[in-house]
């Protein structure tokens, strides 16, 4: 899942932070990492000395990973998404940075663009799981995974990723709308429970504990609520293009990524090739 991971980096990245990231990725199964830097067409630093990238690579190699450094050009998010797809990376790793809402509104956000454009899974590292100290490493056996599933065909594609996390606890969550009458609601509830039970059985060999629940309401709001309740480390979810009418409100995945304290592992819709 993380065997070959692309890590976008920018000028000013601190080697010690990157080493912590390296440790986390290694504990999640990473073997090789590519540090990827994009030169923006109008950037002040364009064509500048890239020795800092070499220094970062050397620092990261100390964690025992195979590291290479690459550069690209163009629109940052598009270039990263293209590189990840064309060079066959398993995932893209991003450390979430705190930005002011106004700044994001005015300048946009590379992370958000990347979430929209990437054709390979994206791991957005948020507050949880905490970056380990200089010596300690993240123990994946402690991980609490929240798997938010739509229970449709595309969701099945996410299962192998969830299995690979192999943590302490996997909590399955299905958020849906309420049916129009009590009888239909009861029938739907039972059907969903049955489907969740089946998925839970598939996941049981990979986790110490597997639980499931279904909730009614706004998907993003409910995922964020449950994630906080169980103090999930990672939320695994699929990403679909929002319906035309709902696009201005932002799509569910984007809202979860923005609001979550847990990290997000976002798997794009299969067969979808973005305009990147």
């Amino acid at each position: 899942m993380f065997e070959k991971t692309l890590v976008p980096v920018a000028y000013g990245e601190r080697p010690e932070e990157l080493m912590k990231i390296g440790k986390i990725l290694r504990s999640l199964g990473a073997n090789a990492i590519c540090l990827y830097h994009v030169n923006e067409p109008g950037s002040f630093f364009r064509g500048a000395d890239l020795s800092w990238l070499t220094l970062l690579s050397e620092a990261l190699e100390e964690t025992g990973l195979n590291v290479e450094a690459k550069t690209g050009n163009g629109h940052i998010a598009s270039a990263i998404a293209d590189a990840a797809l064309l060079d066959g990376f398993d995932a893209i790793y991003m450390k979430a940075k705190r930005r002011w809402h106004l700044e994001t509104m005015l300048l946009g956000s590379v992370s958000r663009d990347l979430l929209r454009l990437a054709d390979v899974p994206v791991f957005v590292h948020k507050v949880r799981p905490r970056l380990p100290g200089s010596e300690a490493e993240l123990d994946r056996r402690d991980l609490k995974i929240l798997y938010a599933t739509d229970l449709d065909e595309t969701s099945n594609r996410l299962l192998p990723y969830v299995m690979e996390f192999r943590g302490a606890w996997c909590h399955l969550l299905h958020v849906r709308g309420r049916m129009a009458d009590p009888l239909a609601e009861r029938a739907r509830q039972e059907a969903v429970d049955g489907e969740l039970h089946a998925v839970a059985e598939e996941l049981r060999p990979y986790f110490e504990r597997v639980t499931f629940e279904q909730r009614i309401g706004d998907p993003a709001g409910q995922v964020l609520y449950v994630s906080d309740q169980i103090e999930a480390d990672v939320v695994v979810l699929g990403r679909k293009s929002p319906a035309f009418l709902f696009a201005p409100m932002g799509d569910t995945a984007e809202r979860i990524v923005v609001g979550s304290r847990a990290s997000i592992f976002l798997v794009p819709q299969p067969g979808r090739r973005n305009a990147s």
């Binding site: 709308g177 309420r178 049916m179 129009a180 009458d181 009590p182 009888l183 239909a184 609601e185 009614i216």
Partner: protein, 497 residues
């Protein structure tokens, strides 16, 4: 035990309590009630008259979209169900729902009042004013009121006949409230429906009593004191209460059907005795103007000139229809089981509307003909007392006394049948949607309707009636917006071919 009773009768106790408080306040402190309702009414009109216009237009667009979409083929009932009534019987009952005191009250007076008192940008008593008057009369009584009824009746019919839930407004909220429809939230929705029905019906009863009184004064020189109007309300109350309590519903149904036949004959007689070609020209040209301007009419509040006019008329009408919608909606829903959504929407929107257009063209067109071509001074009479316009109009026809008596009979029967049906609907709304309503509830609701009508007549007459209709309709308008949403959710879960 008591807790169980309170839970079971929550809607009844709460709504009866509010209405009782309103009546008590009207008796003890009419000045305070008048001042409080004026403040609320002004706040609603100042801030939300645009919302009435845009909501009602949305209801129309929503109903048409449903009818013409793939959901149009969904049945209001189970898939194999057939309509309970034949097409013509069903259409006749839709007529019955659409006709009432209002048509008699406003049929002559509304075009005349618009003709005499149009918005400031139109010259009073001009040919432009006549055209404007007819167009707006068509607009206020046309497709929009039926779109309002359609939303409520379609929701009730869909959730009760297809989804097997009780015939209550709160049932339609299941997709958003879930099991909470059986708790305080659901009760609140039903209380709002009761509240709207009581004030909407009381407004109509108040109009009816005022007009019966005017007719009696006109014919027999009866005193015009308010006590006579109250006496008329009390006599009518005794009649409809007797009908509701003694279970003479079948007799009332016969009377109701007779009334419709009589009203249609009355309409034909006025057309025959007056200038039919003129009236038919008024009908045709007003229909053309109405269709051509329907978008502008729907959303026009005249913010630069004539805003007050729009508030006094269009917003009042929209509010009045909204406050009638739980009552009419339940009735239409009950007779429409087994119809498809497309058949239901298109028929409800067109057939009663066309009949109403004919009614207004005949009564309003004839009145304008008398005013413009024959020098009658009807507009001045209507401008002074709208309830008198019909009788002043009938003066210009042969057998005027007999025609006025027929009009009085029609008004009285409409009064009794409307109040009787409203009593049963209110009883049903406060008995969990059951059609078997305990007598004590019928008594309480019957008396409440009359008491509210009297309170409003005493505290401010016509303007007070209009004010309360607007106020009571406001929360129910918000309920109706949610109804559209829940109906869309329900339909989206259907498997449509």
């Amino acid at each position: 035990m008591l807790r169980e009773y309170l839970k079971q009768e929550g809607v009844f106790l709460l709504s009866a309590g509010i209405i009782l408080f309103f009546i008590g306040l009207g008796i003890a402190r009419p000045d305070l009630l008048g001042a409080a309702s004026s403040v609320v009414h002004a706040a609603i009109l100042d801030n939300f008259s645009w919302l009435y216009l845009i909501s009602v237009f949305f209801f129309l667009a929503f109903a048409l979209t449903l009818a013409l979409s793939r959901y149009g083929t969904i049945k209001l009932g189970y898939d194999a169900e057939r309509p309970q009534y034949g097409f013509f019987g069903w259409v006749a009952m839709l007529f019955a729902a659409g006709m009432g005191i209002g048509l008699l009250f406003w049929g002559v007076s509304e075009p005349l009042v618009h003709f005499l008192q149009p918005p400031p940008f139109i010259n009073s008593a001009s040919s432009d004013a006549a055209s404007f008057a007819m167009r707006y009369s068509f607009f206020h009584w046309g497709i929009h009121p039926w779109a309002i009824y359609t939303i409520v009746s379609l929701s009730i019919a869909y959730f009760s006949f297809r989804r097997g839930m009780p015939a209550l407004i709160s049932s339609c909220f299941y997709p958003v409230l879930g099991e909470r429809i059986y708790g305080a939230a659901g009760n609140l929705v039903d209380v709002l429906a009761v509240f709207a029905t009581v004030f909407g019906t009381a407004t109509s009863l108040g109009f009816g009593a005022l007009q019966i009184h005017s007719g009696l004064t006109h014919l027999y020189g009866l005193s015009s004191a308010i006590s006579v109007t109250i006496g008329i309300v009390l006599i009518a109350t005794a009649l409809f209460m007797a009908s509701a309590i003694l279970g003479v519903e079948k007799g009332v149904q016969v009377l109701s059907k007779l009334n419709i036949v009589l009203a249609t004959a009355f309409l034909a007689l006025i057309l025959g005795l007056g200038s039919a070609p003129y009236v038919l020209n008024v009908f045709t040209s007003t229909l053309g103007g109405y269709i051509n301007n329907i978008l502008d009419l729907s959303l026009q509040s005249y913010p630069f000139a004539g805003f007050d006019w729009s508030r006094d008329w269009t917003v009042f009408y929209w509010a009045w229809w909204i406050s009638w919608s739980p009552f009419v909606g339940l009735f239409i829903a009950r007779i429409s089981r087994g119809r498809t959504i497309r058949e239901f929407v298109l028929t409800v929107l067109t057939v009663p509307t066309l009949f109403t257009f004919v009614w207004f063209a005949v009564f309003g067109g004839s009145a304008l003909h008398l005013e413009l071509e024959e020098g009658a001074d009807l507009a001045a009479v209507a401008g002074e007392d709208v309830s008198l316009a019909l009788f002043a109009f009938l003066e210009h026809y042969p057998f005027a006394g007999l025609l006025s008596l027929v009009a009085l009979f029609l008004l009285t029967v409409f009064f009794v049948t409307s109040a009787d049906s409203a009593t049963v609907v209110l009883g049903s709304l406060t008995s969990g949607g059951s059609l078997i309503v305990p007598t004590y509830k019928k008594v309480i609701w019957g008396l409440s309707l009359s008491a509210v009508a009297i309170t409003l007549l005493v505290t401010g007459g016509l303007s007070s009636l209009q004010m309360m209709a607007i106020t009571a309709a406001f929360p129910f308008m918000l309920v109706m917006i949610v109804l559209c949403y829940t109906l869309a959710i329900g339909l989206s879960q259907e498997k449509v071919q």
